[in-house]
Symmetry: C2
Subunit: 307 residues, 2 copies
């Protein structure tokens, strides 16, 4: 089943302990789409400026990603400049220039309005609302939270959260949104706001999933070297939603496996700057690390529980 992702396409400047890259491809929609395409057809709804380079556009279309929903406007593509601390769970935004995104309102194509799977990358809740008003009867809506909007448009945010099936947020955002420092309390508090499932992303510490059926906890895949964590969250969402769309069933069981697939693809994304590793990634590599991930987290308990 086809997935529609609404989010940024941008040019990023990124600084980590491992170096600096300038004017590289970025934006949540690009990470999401490059991850989801391994599992399911995916189409992007976004906007770029007339400086967006043809080879970057082709990078998506060459990989089967539907770009009909990407509008080109006069002006500059969105720019983001981020700098990571030595502890890569922390980063500062040096500069964000929305450029063509300023005042832009995304509209879905007729076939996108009938899509079953909708991913709303971090954005203004009013835009999320506007997208949800356009889709007829989606099977699954996933939205990612961005802390900026918690402070500025709380009411709008709460309206969107009610309409979402799976809410994604970081541990810091979960705390900010609920006022609960304890993540179990925070997760349950967000559940009470409407979504059937809440996924709290803890960076290198993995993911906590909350639903009516209970909790699921997975570590992140431990890497010897993280080059650039940018886009890890959107990549995770892409792998996860991709698996769910391919499987066609959304329940506690498929969700758990989806979280592992999301974690696997995200673990590749951070191995190089920008989209580089995702561009060359193969299904075989995903499948290999998926198996390694299962072995990594296998407690061999079955031998000891006999009752």
């Amino acid at each position: 089943m086809s997935i529609v992702v609404v989010g940024f396409l941008a040019y990023d400047t990124v600084e980590t302990q491992n170096g600096k890259v300038e004017e590289v491809m970025g934006g949540g929609a690009s990470y999401f789409a490059l991850a989801a395409r391994f599992f399911s057809p995916v189409s992007i709804v976004s906007v770029v400026g007339n400086d967006y380079r043809p080879e970057h556009w082709r990078m998506f279309t060459d990989r089967g990603i539907d770009m009909r929903g990407v509008v080109r406007l006069e002006g500059m593509t969105t720019r983001w400049h981020g700098r990571y601390h030595e502890d890569m769970n922390k980063r500062d935004t040096v500069q964000l220039s929305l450029n063509v995104l300023e005042g832009f309102t995304p509209e879905l194509l007729p076939d996108q309005r009938r899509a079953d799977y909708i991913y709303l990358a971090p954005n203004d809740p009013d835009l999320h609302e506007h997208i949800l008003d356009q889709v007829s009867s989606p099977k699954l809506v996933i939205a990612d939270l961005y802390d900026y909007w918690i402070d500025t448009t709380r009411a709008g945010l709460e309206k969107v959260i009610k309409r979402v099936d799976i809410m994604l947020c970081s541990d810091a955002e979960a705390r900010l949104l609920t006022g609960e420092h304890n993540l179990v309390k925070a997760g349950r508090a967000i559940l009470a706001m409407g979504p059937g499932t809440v996924l709290i992303k803890r960076g290198e510490y993995g993911v906590l999933q909350f639903s009516k059926e209970g909790m699921f906890a997975v570590p992140a895949y431990p890497l010897e070297e993280v080059i650039d964590p940018t886009g890890a969250g959107d990549t995770f969402a892409g792998g996860m939603m991709g698996f769910l769309a391919r499987n066609g069933r959304v329940n506690e069981s498929t969700l758990r496996t989806a979280v592992v697939y999301g974690s696997v693809v995200a673990s590749y994304a951070v191995e190089d700057f920008s989209l580089r590793r995702l561009e060359t990634l193969t299904w075989e590599a995903i499948d290999n690390r998926y198996r390694a991930f299962i072995e990594l987290t296998d407690s061999h308990h079955s031998r000891w529980i006999s009752r």
Copy 2:
């Protein structure tokens, strides 16, 4: 099989966001023994002052813990005063008074020297060395690191690490010991120092296990309320080593299950101040949470890997 634990018995003063307790039972050996006893006989090697209260001594003996190796000396029992940050992974030591421990050299009883399972709670590496010189041919030696000794007696520490089968340390200690910020690199660097297995404890984020056979990652059991994290590491070690001693085999498979049991017992320890929760804990409660833990971490992958 019987376990010998060498470590502190102390009176603690502890401050957390949830309150303050004064002059309560503490010390690594007490947490370890109260956890290990559910799985295996355990005897403590330690020292207390003549202020150590009879009802506290009886708390151990009533639960079948062998106290013959605990020496009573004239003077005060060791005192520790700690204060936790709101982020309970961080704490400050307000005061540590070694008292009777000052200059004390632990000696094992004849039957303890033949023990198969030895746990060395955080202490001076020279004392660890002295204990290891007394045991004839232990099957398994586990030692826990204490960051203080990384700076002060590095050479002695490295000698002990060579003689240990399983090395336990916190993430911060692993980084300090190896100079590697990345935990995968740090874990492998400690492995190269001698022990067959390295367990890096990440507090509320769980445990990373490194061995020649590979990596194992488990989250901590997510709790709605952590009252007092004191002793969580020693409780974890007690549950883990207890399971290994009861099972009698030490291999990658039993180690993984042991880590889960350790995590389960530790998750109870932090639910109340001091040893309170461990004193009343039952095997049924451990078994229930063990099953909940397995469900918590089950990715339901078996349905999707068919090849």
